[in-house]
C-alpha cells in the first residue's frame, strides 16, 4: 500500500498541527493557521524598515507507513516571486519546532538562527529553491509520525508593498518511496 503522507503546519506552544495538504495557509501576524484570515495582516512599514509575518513551520507526517522507506525528501518553490513588489519570502530547514512570536497585527519576530536555534542556517530567499535546485530536507522514515526536518519560512514586507492580500504561491514537497 502506498504510504499516506500529509503536510502539517505547526503553531502554538503545543504545538497544534494543521493538515494543509489540500488547502492553503496564510502567513500573517498571528501564530494560528488560517486560509483567509484578515484580522492580523502584516503592516506595511512607512519607513525603511521591514515588517514580517510570524514564521510558518511546515513538516511532513506519515499516517500510513510505507512498505519500506520514504527518503530523498526535497522542498522547492516555482522560482518566481509573484507576491508582488515589496514582498519577499525567506526560509530554510530546521530540526525542531520553535513557536513563532511577534506583535499580533503588526510584525513577527525575525526568522534567524538566533531566534530559531535549530534552523540549519540563516534563512534565504525561498525562490532560490527550485525543482532543478531544491532544498534537501534531511531525514527519512519507515514508520508513521512526523518525519524529516521542518521547512520554516517567513514573509517580509517593505514600504513599497501594496495593501491587500498577495497572490498565492505554491511550495512543493517531493520524496521517494519504496
Amino acid at each position: 500500500m502506498v504510504a499516506t503522507v500529509i503536510i502539517l503546519r505547526k503553531t502554538g506552544s503545543g504545538p497544534t498541527t494543521s493538515n494543509i495538504t489540500s488547502i492553503n495557509t496564510r502567513a500573517n501576524t498571528t501564530d494560528i493557521h488560517s486560509t483567509a484570515d484578515t484580522t492580523a495582516p502584516i503592516q506595511i512599514p512607512t519607513d525603511t524598515g521591514t515588517k514580517r509575518s510570524f514564521w510558518v513551520v511546515t513538516r511532513l507526517q506519515c499516517t500510513v507507513a510505507p512498505a519500506s522507506l520514504i527518503d530523498n525528501v526535497e522542498w522547492y518553490s516555482d522560482g518566481s516571486n509573484t507576491f508582488g513588489t515589496g514582498v519577499a519570502c525567506k526560509g530554510n530547514t530546521g530540526t525542531s519546532y520553535t513557536q513563532a512570536t511577534g506583535t499580533t497585527g503588526d510584525t513577527g519576530l525575525q526568522l534567524t538562527t538566533g531566534n530559531y536555534t535549530s534552523l540549519t542556517t540563516d534563512p534565504v530567499n525561498v525562490f532560490t529553491f527550485t525543482s532543478a535546485a531544491p532544498k534537501v530536507v534531511a531525514g527519512s522514515t519507515s514508520g508513521t509520525g512526523e518525519f524529516a526536518d521542518s521547512f520554516i519560512y517567513q514573509t517580509e514586507v517593505t514600504s513599497d508593498a501594496s495593501p491587500g492580500a498577495t497572490a498565492q504561491e505554491t511550495w512543493t514537497w517531493r520524496f521517494d518511496e519504496t
Binding site: 527518503d71 512543493t172 521517494d176
Partner: protein, 164 residues
C-alpha cells in the same frame, strides 16, 4: 494506480504490497519486474542479472494535489563503466479517473531535463563496488527545545552514505 509484480525464475511472483517489499526481493532469482496498470502490464523489464531499481517518486503541492512517478529500470557494468536504463512512468488522471500512464525513457539522472529525473539515494543492492549507497539508522540525540528552554532527547532516522 500503477503497481509492480516481481517474477522469479522458478515461476512464482510477488505483487507489490504482498508479503515482501521492494527492499526484500530475492534479487539473485529475479527474472522480470512488471509495471501494471488496471491489471494489464505497462512495462516488463527482463533483468538478465542486471541491478533492478524502482522508486515511487511523489510530489505534493498543497491545495493542488499530487504527482506520482514510478522510476524503474536497471543498472549494469559494461566495460568497467556503470550504465543504466531508466523508465519514468507518470500516473495520469482525467478529473478523478486514472488513465493510461505516460512513459519517458532515459539513460542518466538529469533533473535539469525533467524535475522527476533526479538521482535517488541508492540502496546497497543497487550499486556496484566503489559506488555510494545509503544506510538508514535510528539515532537518539539531545536537542535544545526553544519552547521549553531545556534539552530533550529526540529519536530520528538518519541516512549515512557508505561506499560499497
Amino acid at each position: 494506480m500503477v503497481y509492480w509484480i516481481a517474477c522469479y525464475k522458478n515461476g512464482s511472483s510477488i505483487k507489490q504490497d504482498e508479503s515482501q517489499n521492494y527492499d526484500n526481493l530475492d534479487r539473485n532469482n529475479l527474472e522480470a519486474f512488471i509495471l501494471m496498470f488496471e491489471d494489464k502490464p505497462v512495462l516488463t523489464i527482463w533483468l538478465d542479472n542486471k541491478q533492478l531499481i524502482w522508486r515511487l517518486r511523489r510530489e505534493i503541492k498543497p491545495g493542488l494535489g499530487e504527482i506520482r512517478v514510478h522510476l524503474v529500470g536497471w543498472r549494469e557494468q559494461v566495460g568497467g563503466q556503470v550504465q543504466q536504463t531508466l523508465f519514468y512512468i507518470f500516473e495520469q488522471y482525467d478529473n478523478e479517473k486514472e488513465t493510461f500512464p505516460i512513459i519517458h525513457v532515459s539513460g542518466k539522472f538529469d533533473r535539469e531535463r525533467n524535475r522527476f529525473m533526479n538521482e535517488p539515494k541508492f540502496r546497497e543492492f543497487e550499486v556496484f563496488p566503489g559506488e555510494i549507497y545509503y544506510l538508514n539508522r535510528k539515532v537518539k540525540r539531545m536537542m535544545f527545545d526553544d519552547n521549553l528552554g531545556v534539552e530533550r532527547e529526540v529519536e530520528e532516522t538518519i541516512q549515512e552514505p557508505h561506499i560499497k
